[in-house]
Point group: C2
Chain length 251, copies 2
């Protein structure tokens, strides 16, 4: 048993996971620095309520939800149940923080009489958030509640994984749209002269893209998939035998 | 031999490929309709030179390069060499058309005295295009020139595939940024009232995202990967035997 753990080839995965965390924390730090240095900081009641929006979205929808996707790769030798609990918890934390960020921008718009939901940023963002919420609920029902047939779970899993990574990508695209909108609203003339705030905002965009690329790379390497633990392997063979009617002695 | 073809399970792949083509053609049609209906149409020398840019980028970097990625899935029973020639040709056509689109916007900026390369759209776009060109050159050297070791090709292939899909995704994100910029420049007041042009541009963004999603889904299904033809299979076993020193009789 131990032998199979030693032979497992995780290659450069630990370095890439470390890189993703550095990139994620850097993106958060740049978001915080940008909003407090150039955009007046944070408050719930004042005109700075808007700034809660980008901060919460980068923290929740990008950083925490990105990390939730890595759980099954990073904690590969924990039980599946423990990994599922961590995965679901990180996502619900991400959902809650993002919801605060969404409420912040709608309240700010209302106070300032700014129309909602006209831009591509808002269309893509609200679609992504709605699907993210649905994905959480469906994932909870399918993978956490007992009694769902093993065959149904196995069928649903590739969709869950594909949608999960797609939602991270579309979240990052939504952030880039939001950054572009903010630059053109806040610095309509100066942005074209590439002032320090413009460079900072563009760099934040680049950081978010590279964060997404590193996470996507880790998740799409076949050889870094979480291997089933010995007891899970035995269990899944039992299930396969039951559902597919194969002889247990077959390879 | 025929038996293995019959047993091959391509499932809904043909429908998804058809859907991707409908979405791609729809995106092109909407781009053309938008630019000619609302933005004055196309000309190389007049002020409509700008409009060449979005049209060429959607045709080249999105539609043709997206289709190039599908070649190995769609023409799964052609020889690998024929598929490679089609894949490389579609990409070089895409590169040429995109280059025309990039030249158009730089010339337009020069004539109008508009600064270049300050926005996130331009940063992401030029990076994507440069990497796309490098990917073509490296791909040509590694997979088309004779004499590259089979082991080196096999090692390089996952990076080529990952970068290829990543570049399509980042191209689409760049298009969304361009659409947002154009709406805020061309309709600074009206966009917030969601006029018909705004709805059309946002819908184009949605079409591009769904096109990318369908292509990404087709490419990431393990079971739809191109199976090696019988003669390739024999060849690759020979190579494996030579490079890994295994007995040819081993399973």
């Amino acid at each position: 048993m131990d032998d199979s753990l030693v032979r497992e080839n995780v290659g450069v995965m630990p370095y890439l996971v470390a890189a993703s965390q550095v990139l994620g924390v850097a993106a958060l730090a740049v978001t915080g620095a940008w909003l407090s240095q150039y955009r007046g900081g944070f408050s719930w009641d004042g005109p700075e309520q808007f700034n809660i929006h980008p901060l919460c979205m980068v923290l929740g929808m990008v950083f925490l939800s990105g990390d939730a996707l890595l759980v099954f790769r990073v904690f590969r030798h924990e039980t599946k149940r423990a990994s599922k609990i961590l995965h679901g918890s990180l996502h619900i934390l991400a959902l809650t923080i993002s919801l605060v960020g969404i409420i912040a921008v709608f309240q700010y718009h209302k106070k300032k009489n700014i129309p909602d939901m006209y831009s591509l940023h808002s269309w893509l963002g609200i679609t992504t958030f709605t699907l993210y919420l649905l994905q959480w609920i469906l994932g909870f029902i399918m993978f956490f509640l007992p009694g769902v047939a093993f065959a149904l779970r196995s069928r649903f899993k590739p969709f869950h994984v594909f949608l999960g990574l797609s939602l991270l990508v579309s979240t990052i695209a939504t952030c880039l749209l939001g950054l572009t909108e903010k630059m053109l609203f806040a610095l309509p003339e100066e942005y074209a002269k590439l002032p320090s705030e413009g460079i900072l905002a563009n760099s934040l965009g680049v950081l978010l893209v590279v964060f997404g690329l590193v996470i996507a790379y880790i998740l799409t390497r076949d050889e870094w998939r979480r291997p089933p633990l010995p007891e899970e392997q035995a269990l899944s063979i039992d299930f396969k035998t039951l559902t597919q009617g194969e002889s247990p002695t077959e390879p």
